[in-house]
Amino acid sequence: MATTACFIIVSRNDIPIYEAEVGSTVKREDAAHLHQFILHAAQDIVQDLAWTTSAMFLKAIDRFNDLVVSVYVTAGHTRFMLLHDSRNDDGIKSFFQEVHELYIKTLLNPLYLPGSRITSSHFDTKVRALARKYL
């Protein structure tokens, strides 16, 4: 499992709708904003790259020092962004695919408004379990 990993889902209008620190290290207070900064900045690259490929998984697209940003873009241009420090492309890809499935299930919920914050605790526990499994 990666020591540092921050998973975030960004809606198509650039609003983070789900955030989770899934690394094994204890969450540091000052790291939260750094992670957001890195992921936020990485979107500049995502917006270019997303149109160059038909694959949803964009691999590692950006890095900051030893932190790497991997991105998965759904068909609706919701972006799953993972900031991590370990190189495990296959694991990350599986992670993204499973989270995508979860996300679709969330979307199917008639009470969930697409683009709004995902507050489901079930979703949260599932994502964390997947992170433990794959990252």
């Binding site: 983070p16 207070e29 992670h35 957001q36 900064f37 890195i38 936020h40 500049d44």
Partner: protein, 1282 residues
């Protein structure tokens, strides 16, 4: 694109140019200092030649012409590697100075990214970036692995004042004073020398100098010696139009005084000198050197043989190498010479030649693992490719290669990497590859904070200018850079970068980013003492529910601290903390509707309306009609706004929400209001409507309101503490003191005792479609606008001693107290109660009575006179007597009776209507709304089961089951009363008394109900009038308490209500009976929470049906005990059966007597089955249970029945058939013959009945049409008479 015209090209031409080493005597400098310049500074402006036009011939035979050229002059003492520390200090100074200038712009808003993009790059970038980069590059000059800083020519300058100038020239070029680089062999010490004699015209006429010159010419040769005369101007007042020196003097203190002694001739002379220097000395010597070196290199290295040899030689050398640095190369080594050749060729713009040499040498250095030199050569190759303007890829590859080699393989190669990176960046920028350039900037940022800050900031601008603009990266790098600036105390720069970043992140939902940026900028502003700006930024981070508790505390603490520091009683508008839930806003005011308690306010308006409908006069009559002209215009206006009354508070409920994890104290929470005289109304209407159109005005209004004259109304001040994550409803009131128009504008509060925040209801709610529960049609703002009218009397009502919890059945005596606080009196009181079943209005004389004794039956038989009159309808309005007027000092008390009819939660609504005596007032009437919520606990359950007594038709057996439903209280059953004229009730066993009803217990008792003979002509007497025998005392003994008279007012009133509520359909009046069970609570110290008072509990059971399941009842009458002499004959007994048809239809009956085996049991002991007065009721079923006593006398049942000898047979007709009219009786005779003594049960007959309904009533399936009833047990004992 001409590479030479790109920024990189210009930079390279500038920096990579021939170096002239200058050696001077002190007197030379002295002469120059008169102009405020050093010798080099004096010459520098004239060392740049834009159109020198010199033919150059290098390796090839084809000459070409140089147009632009530049010389760099250095003192010999400066020809060494610059001190890094000094450079750093200087850079820091520059940046600090730039920061100071920046402070002027701190207050301005940062330019928007779009703004920046529309402007050109050079405008946006701070000018000191260029300087900073240049200085960084210069820190690397005179490094030992590069040759372009090697001095080409040495200029020796001696003043004409020096004695023996010739000797001075010799001394100057003493090896001791020469730079170490020349001495240790890195540079070629054999330099072309040029001698210059400087003459100061102020000291002596030029003739002296020419004399020296001619002397020296013989020594040094004519070409190598020059004369320069300066300071020709004697008064020192030469004004240069464009002072050429300002650019070269870094710390220009007095730029206009520079070169004040140099007149035009002097300047021209200097120009000639430098031109001469360049074209006649520098270029030719370089040409020569290039040619010489080229020949050497060709001889040793070019050609196949040389290459093989070279490779072989290097391989052999490999083992002895010092791995880290590679071999040291002196100027005479072949490698160094190739490098020099390349650099010279580069400086002479023969890029092809330079490139071929760089290529050649780079492989050598690589093989030698001389990484620094290798990287240096790669770097130059990249630059040369660029200048040649072909093969981009090659150029970039070389730069990258050099860059990485510097970083990885060269110890302390960071400086070199920086320069390489800067060149590389310029190269990328020249090709519009901003994104790549940014990442290079990022890589060269390094550890040193100031350096990295500048680099990161430059990186951010690269992102901004990349296509398409990468704004998020731009913001991120600005923040990174600002962070670094902060680390090296460049606060102002930090703020500048963050400010620009904020413009990118504006409106972001990335919470941590927003908090970080605003918090830091806020802190830095505070650090600079700009607390106002700090507060503005801290406001942004107050809503930080996502942060941890400590962070939230930190934010809030800082904010409060800054606010305090900012001085002034800071009125912060739009304070985001706490959150105000605008939709929860609730306004409670009293116009003609007044409320007795807050609970009454919470009741739905529609509910009150429905209650009030009957009480208040209908609207058109109460309001104006068209004839009342004088009040019409006012009322129309008033219709538009709510009405409130001077001196009566308007309450506004505002919901505050604290999203943080820390509790926040709020003090001085109050409303913001404005009150206008009525004449101002039109004007203010206009002004408010215009104010609503722009927010700025509203802020102004709010500020104006803060200082509004507060004498005309009173505001309540509330202090509260909002716990973490909690929502608190705060009730605020405003009480107008004058008539006029009152506007409730907003709410303000003081946070943590220091910051005042306010919230404007109008601005926020205007956007929403305002709906409030009271008036849907009106907009929200109208609900906050009140017409204040002059004071009116207002009744305040209170019901004394109304308990919150009571037991079901409790009957209590209450007092309603109405008081009037104002001078004016009120009259015409009316009252309506929602549940007359629970609450009954008493009579005036009830006020002073002693309860419960007042309800006791008078033994003297004299009626109290308050016999209940049946009330007209359950929901009618009670009119107080007309003469009742409530004045100020005379509160009105009125008795009320409360009866807790059924368990559960009961909401009692009471509406009191009153009219105002003062006829001139705007409002004719007002209503007082009272609301009480009670909890009625279950206490006693009583149920009655009535079955006709088999023996008689007029008597009924009443089984009363009494159960206690509470576990906390004991009850004493006092009395049971039956209502109705024709009923009389009595205990079956007069000695039986029901025990004290303990908690959660039950008992059963049996009573006898007897139908009285109906007196003739009393049919029209109401059934409510009880006859004398209607009460049974059930209390244990004669404790002096008499029976209660249930016909007295409250009891009978409540009973009527109960009757109405318990009414069942299709019940004949004569077939039902009402019971009232009166009991009392035994006082105990229980914790039930129900206050004890000596009161009665009355349970009403109405409409208890006396009819059995069959519509036909009958009774068999006859002797019970007969003495007969059986020896004479058998015994013949005559019986009489009376049949009664209780149904509405004609019944055809058939009575069959049966003589079958199954019936007619002989019972051994008659006493065993006789009904006793034992407690408890058992359904005696003879078929299943036969009580046989121990002393069996005579026969056994089984044997007897098997014998089938029946000692008893029916005689007479075995089947009688007859018709019976509704509600009529008929008697038929029966006869039975008994053959031997014993006790017999004569139940072996069957009554079959068949009802013949009239046709129009028929087909009701609920009623049985026919049936068969077995006979009742009838015991007859026949004893032998002997």
């Amino acid at each position: 694109m001409d590479p030479a015209n790109t920024p990189l090209g210009r930079m390279l031409l500038d920096e990579i140019s021939p170096v002239v080493m200058v050696l001077t005597t002190p007197l030379v400098d002295e002469a120059c200092q008169k102009n405020g310049l050093s010798f080099i500074e004096m010459l520098s402006p004239f060392c740049v030649f834009n159109n020198i036009d010199v033919p150059v011939r290098t390796a090839s035979d084809q000459p070409y012409r140089l147009q632009k050229f530049k010389l760099r002059l250095f003192y010999a003492s400066d020809i060494r590697q610059p001190d890094l520390q000094v450079t750093k200090e200087r850079l820091k100074e520059v940046i600090t100075k730039a920061g100071e200038e920046e402070s002027l712009n701190l207050h301005l808003d940062a330019p928007q990214p779009d703004d920046l993009l529309s402007r050109s790059e050079s405008e946006v970038l701070p000018s000191w970036f260029k300087f900073f980069n240049k200085e960084l590059i210069r820190t690397l000059s005179f490094s030992d692995h590069e040759a372009f800083d090697h001095p080409v020519v040495c200029l020796l300058v001696v003043s004409s004042k020096d004695d023996q100038p010739v000797n001075r020239f010799v001394d100057l070029f003493n090896t001791d004073q020469l730079p170490s680089l020349l001495n240790d062999g890195a540079m070629d010490p054999k330099i072309h020398k040029l001698y210059l004699l400087l003459h100061d015209n102020q000291d002596a006429p030029p003739e002296k100098a020419t004399k020296f010159l001619s002397e020296m010419k013989s020594t040094f040769g004519a070409n190598a010696l020059q004369l320069l005369c300066i300071n020709s101007s004697r008064d020192g007042l030469v004004e240069h139009l464009e002072n050429p020196w300002t650019l070269y003097k870094s710390d220009a203190l007095s730029t206009h005084s520079l070169g004040r002694f140099l007149n035009k001739d002097d300047v021209n002379e200097i120009k000639d000198l430098t031109q001469d220097l360049a074209s006649k000395h520098v270029i030719p010597s370089m040409e020569e050197k290039v040619r010489v070196l080229n020949q050497q290199v060709s001889a040793t290295r070019k050609g196949f043989r040389n290459q093989i040899k070279n490779l072989w030689w290097r391989k052999g050398k490999e083992e002895s190498l010092d791995a880290s640095n590679g071999p040291t190369y002196t100027f005479s080594s072949t490698e160094s010479q190739i490098r020099v050749l390349g650099d010279y060729a580069f400086m002479l713009r023969d890029y092809e030649l330079a490139l071929s040499n760089y290529r050649l040498i780079s492989t050598d250095y690589k093989l030698d693992k001389a990484w620094k030199r290798y990287a240096g050569v790669q770097e130059m190759m990249g630059v040369t490719y660029f200048m040649l303007n072909h093969s981009r890829k090659e150029a970039e590859y070389c730069m990258e290669n050099a860059f990485n080699t510097y970083l990885k393989n060269v110890p302390a190669g960071h400086q070199n990497a920086t320069r390489c990176g800067l060149w590389w960046i310029e190269m990328l920028k020249a090709r519009d590859q901003y994104k790549e350039a940014a990442s290079v900037y990022f890589h060269i940022s390094g550890e040193e904070s100031l350096h990295s800050a500048v680099m990161l900031e430059q990186a951010s601008y690269c992102y901004l200018y990349s296509k398409p603009p990468m704004l998020r990266k731009y913001g991120f790098h600005l923040v990174l850079s600002g962070n670094q600036y902060k680390k090296c105390d460049q606060i102002k720069h930090a703020i500048r970068t963050y400010q620009r970043a904020i413009s990118v992140f504006k409106g972001t939902t990335w919470s941590y980013i927003k908090d970080h940026v605003h918090f830091h900028v806020g802190q830095w502003y505070a650090f600079l003492g700009l607390y106002d700006a700090a507060v503005v930024h801290m406001l942004e981070v107050l809503m930080c529910a996502h942060q941890s508790k400590t962070t939230q505390e930190l934010f809030l603490k800082n904010f409060l601290h800054f606010v305090q520091k900012a001085g002034k009683a800071c009125e912060v508008l739009k304070l985001p903390l706490p959150i105000i839930n605008a939709s929860s806003l609730k306004v409670v005011f009293e116009d003609h509707r007044t409320y007795a308690s807050p609970a009454a306010i919470g009741v739905r308006e529609s509910l009150w309306r429905s209650f009030e409908e009957e009480v208040i006069p209908s609207l058109p009559t109460a309001r104006t009609n068209w004839l009342e002209v004088q009040s019409k215009p006012i009322s129309r206006k008033r219709k538009e706004s709510n009405v409130c009354i001077v001196g009566e508070a308007i309450q506004v409920d505002v919901e505050f929400k604290n999203p943080l994890q820390i509790s926040i104290p709020l003090t001085n929470v109050s409303l913001i209001c404005e009150l206008f005289e009525r004449s101002d109304e039109a004007q203010t209407d206009a002004s408010t409507s215009s104010e609503l159109q722009n927010n700025e005005h509203i802020n102004l209004t709010a500020e104006r309101l803060m200082n509004f004259d507060k004498s005309s109304f009173a505001l309540s001040d509330v202090d509260c503490t909002l716990e973490s994550g909690s929502t608190t409803m705060v009730k605020l009131t405003v009480t107008p003191r004058e008539e006029g128009i009152l506007n409730i504008v907003g709410v303000k509060w003081r946070l943590s005792g220091s910051v005042v925040g306010c919230y404007n209801f109008l601005t926020t709610t205007m956007k929403k479609t305002a709906t409030r529960k009271k008036k849907q049609k009106r907009s929200f703002t109208d609900n906050l606008k009140f017409e204040v009218i002059k004071s009116l009397p207002k009744l305040e009502g209170l019901i004394h001693t109304l308990p919150e919890k009571v037991y079901a059945g409790e009957l209590r005596h209450l007092t309603l107290e109405l008081s009037n606080m104002s001078e004016a009196a009120v009259k015409n009181l009316k009252m309506k109660i929602s549940h007359p079943r629970f609450l009954n209005i008493g009579k005036a004389e009830h006020l002073k009575v002693k309860y419960p004794t007042c309800l006791e039956k008078r033994t003297d038989g004299e009626q109290t006179g308050s016999l209940a009159q049946p009330i007209e309808g359950s929901d009618s309005v009670f009119h107080f007597p007309n003469d009742i007027v409530v004045r100020k000092d005379s509160p009105l008390s009125w008795p009320l009776w409360f009866h807790a009819a059924v368990p559960g939660n009961i909401s009692l609504y009471i509406v009191l209507y009153y009219e105002i005596e003062d006829a001139e007032s705007f409002m004719k009437y007002r209503t007082l709304r009272m609301f009480y919520n009670l909890e009625v606990l279950p206490a006693i359950d009583v149920s009655f089961q009535i079955s006709p007594l088999p023996s008689t038709l007029q008597k009924f057996l009443v089984r009363m089951d009494v159960a206690s439903r509470t576990s906390l209280e004991d009850f004493q059953i006092h009395q049971l009363s039956s209502l109705g004229s024709q009923w009389e009730i009595s205990l079956i066993d007069t000695l039986f008394h029901p025990p004290l009803l303990m908690s959660a217990q039950a008992f059963t008792c049996f009573l006898m109900l007897k139908r009285c003979e109906k007196p003739k002509g009393s049919d029209e007497v109401s059934s409510l009038t009880p006859c004398i025998g209607g009460d049974v005392k059930l209390s244990p003994n004669d404790d002096g308490e008499s029976l209660y008279d249930i016909s007295l007012s409250p009891l009978s009133d409540f009973h009527n209500c109960e009757r109405l509520h318990q009414e069942k359909p299709s019940q004949g009046d004569s077939d039902t009976v009402d019971f009232v069970l009166i009991s009392r609570r035994v006082h105990s110290e229980s914790g039930s929470g129900v206050s004890y008072s000596p009161c009665l509990l009355s349970n009403h059971a109405c409409h208890c049906s006396i009819s059995s399941s069959s519509p036909i009842s009958w009774a068999v009458e006859g002797p019970r005990e007969i003495h007969h002499n059986f020896s004479a004959s058998f015994c013949e007994v005559s019986l009489r059966m009376t049949l009664y048809n209780s149904s509405d239809a004609v019944a055809s009956l058939r009575v069959n007597t049966l003589d079958s085996n199954q019936s007619g049991f002989l019972l051994s002991d008659s006493s065993a089955v006789l009904p006793t007065n034992q407690e408890g009721w058992y359904n005696v079923s003879l078929e299943s249970e036969i009580k046989v006593t121990s002393d069996v006398r005579g026969t056994i049942l089984n044997s007897l029945s098997s014998e089938s000898i029946r000692p008893i047979i029916w005689s007479g007709s075995s089947s009688t058939k007859l018709q019976l009219e509704p509600s009529s009786t008929v008697q038929i005779p029966l006869q039975v013959c008994i053959f031997c003594p014993g006790t017999y049960d004569l139940s072996n007959y069957v009554v079959q009945w068949n009802l013949q309904w009239p046709i129009d009533q028929g087909n009701e399936e609920t009623r049985p049409n026919s049936g068969t009833c077995p006979g009742y047990p009838y015991y007859i004992t026949v004893l032998p008479s002997s």
